[in-house]
C-alpha cells in the first residue's frame, strides 16, 4: 500500500543529506524515493531547532529526522529510552571557537573575564564550550563565573561580535565561516571529530515499518558516500536546496568555507554518545542519565 514518510531536517549546511534529499524531492528526482520504491512518498519538514524536531517525534507528527546529537540524547533519556533510536551518523566537525582577528587573544588563559557566546544553553556547542573552559581551569555558572558564557542566538552573535560586545563565540557552521568572513573572526579552536548531526527514528515508526527504516538508512549511507565522492556537485545541490527552502540566495563562499570544516560520515558509536553524556554531566546539565544500550537497538 501507499505510505508517506515524514522526515525532518534543518535548512543548514550541517544537515547536507537532508537538504539534498528534500531538494531532490522538490526537483522530482528524489534520491530517497528512487531507493524506497514507488509506494513511498516522502514529506520533508524543515525545523530550526533540535528540541522542536524531537517534540514532533514525540507527538508522532514526523517519523525520522536529522538532528544534533545532544537533542537526540536528551530525547532518549527523557523518554526513558522508549521513543527514539539513532540510525546512523551524518556529519562531524564544523564547530569552532572564534575570537577577534586582531590577535588580542592567543592563550586560553586570556579568556578570564571575557564574554563568550554559545548558540543555546545546553546544546552541543554550549556543553562543549563549558567543558573546555572547565578543562582550562575556569569556573562557569549559569549567571557568571570566571568566563561569562552567554547563550545567544546565532544571528545576534554575529552582530554583537561585530560591535565588540562579545569577545568570543563557540558556534557551528555556517556561522563560523560568517564570523570569519564578515566579522573578521579567527578560529581559535576546532573540534573536527565532534558529532554534529545524526539520523534518528521514532520507535513507533521503527516498529511499524522496520523494512522502510532499513531502506532509508541504506539510502542515507549511499548519499553520504556520494557526498564525499562528489563534493563540488554536492555543494551546488546543498546551495540550491538551501536557497529554495529559505527563499534566499546562499553565498557560495560561505558554503565552500563551511564545507571544508565539515566531515560527512555515516558512522557514529555509542562511545561518542557516552562521551557527550560525561561532558554534559561534568558541567551540570544532565542529572539522571540512563544506560545508552538501547540507543542503537532496532528493538523497543
Amino acid at each position: 500500500e501507499k505510505i508517506t514518510l515524514r522526515v525532518g531536517y534543518f535548512p543548514n549546511i550541517t544537515h547536507a543529506q537532508g537538504v539534498i534529499g528534500s531538494h531532490s524531492t522538490r526537483e522530482k528526482h528524489g534520491w530517497f524515493e528512487q531507493r524506497l520504491g514507488p509506494d513511498v512518498t516522502i514529506q520533508w519538514y524543515p525545523f530550526n531547532a533540535g528540541p522542536s524536531a524531537m517534540e514532533a517525534i514525540f507527538a508522532g507528527s514526523i517519523d525520522l529526522t536529522y538532528v544534533g546529537p545532544n537533542p537526540a540524547l536528551n530525547a532518549f533519556i527523557r523518554s526513558q529510552g522508549d521513543e527514539i533510536r539513532v540510525l546512523a551518523g551524518s556529519a562531524l566537525g564544523g564547530a569552532a571557537l572564534v575570537v577577534p582577528g586582531d590577535g588580542r587573544i592567543t592563550q586560553p588563559g586570556q579568556f578570564k573575564g571575557l564574554r563568550l557566546a554559545t548558540p543555546q544553553l545546553g546544546n552541543t556547542q554550549d556543553v562543549a564550550a563549558r567543558a573546555w573552559l572547565k578543562q582550562q581551569g575556569f569556573k562557569t555558572t549559569l549567571t557568571g563565573g570566571d568566563v561569562l558564557v552567554l547563550p545567544t542566538a546565532n544571528p545576534d552573535q554575529l552582530s554583537l561580535f561585530q560591535q565588540g560586545r562579545i569577545d568570543a563565540v563557540w558556534t557551528v557552521e555556517p556561522w563560523v565561516s560568517r564570523l570569519e568572513l564578515e566579522a573578521n573572526g579567527r578560529v581559535f579552536l576546532e573540534q573536527r571529530d565532534a558529532v554534529t548531526t545524526v539520523l534518528v527514528s521514532s520507535v513507533k515508526f521503527l516498529q511499524a515499518h522496520p523494512d522502510l527504516v532499513v531502506k532509508f538508512t541504506a539510502a542515507h549511507r549511499e548519499l553520504t558516500a556520494w557526498l564525499n565522492e562528489h563534493p563540488d556537485e554536492a555543494r551546488a545541490q546543498v546551495r540550491a536546496g538551501l536557497s529554495a527552502e529559505m527563499r534566499r540566495e546562499m553565498s557560495a563562499g560561505i558554503v565552500t568555507s563551511a564545507w571544508s570544516r565539515l566531515k560527512f560520515s555515516d558512522q557514529v558509536t555509542q562511545k561518542q554518545f557516552e562521551a557527550l553524556v560525561t561532558e554534559a554531566q561534568g558541567v551540570g546539565f544532565l542529572r539522571n542519565a540512563i544506560p545508552l544500550d538501547r540507543l542503537f537497538s532496532r528493538q523497543p
Binding site: N48, S52, A56, A59, P155, Q163, R178
Partner: protein, 254 residues
Amino acid sequence: MKRFLTATAFFVLLIAAWHWVYVRRFWSPVLVPSPESVGRYLWEIALDGSLWSSTVVTMKRLVAGYFIGLLAGLPLGFLTARVRVLRDTLGMLALGLQGLPSVCWVPLALLWFGQTEGAMLFVVVMGTLWSVILATETGVRNVNPLYIRAARTMGSQGVHTWVTVMLPASLPFIVSGMKQGWAFAWRSLMAAEIYVTILTGFGLGHLLHYGRELNAMEQVVGIMLVLLLIGLLADKILFSPFEKFLHRRWGTEK
C-alpha cells in the same frame, strides 16, 4: 486627503531619518540596512511573486484563526459576563491563559493536529481567543443597565437581548477588543509560523524568521514594513468603518 498627506509626509520623514542614520554610519550597515537595500529586497520578492504568495498564505491563516477566535470569543465573552459560574471558571482561565506566550501551545497543537494547518490555526486561536473573551466580557459588564432594562420591558430576552442590545451597546469596547485581538492574532501567527513546521505554505513569518536566521537585516526590515502596512490596511478595512459608524451614531467625537 489632508490626513493622507500628513501621514505620508510623516512616513517619508521617518524614512529620511533612517537614511540619514544609515549614511552617517552610526551603526554597522549589516544591522541597519539602507532604505535602498530594503526597497530593493521588497522589489525583488514582489517581482518573483514570493511576496504575494507568502502574503496570501499568511493572510489566509490569520483571517481564519482570527475569525474562529472572534466567533468563539464573542459568545463566550457574553456568557462569562452574564453567568456567574462561567465567570469564576472560564473567565478565570481566560485571565490566566491570555498572558501565556504562544510557544506554550505548540506541543499541544502538534499532539492534536500533527503538522497541519490545523496546528497553526490552533496556536493562533489560542493566542486570540482569551483576549477576545476578556474584552467582550468587560464590554458587556460596562453596558449601561438602563438599556438592558428598557429592552427587557419591551419583551426582549436571552439571546435577543444579547444580540440586539448588549452587543451593540458594548460595541465600542468590542471593537477595541477586536483590534487588540487582531494584534494578538498577528503575533501568535508569526510565532506559529516559526515553531510549527508545515508544508502547506510558506508565510511571511517564515520569511521574517529566515531573514533573522541568516542575519539578513534588509529582509527582516522589509518584512516588518510589509507587516506594518498590512496592519494599517486591516485597520482601514476591518475596523475604521465600524468606528466611524459608531462615532456618528453615538455622537462621540466630531
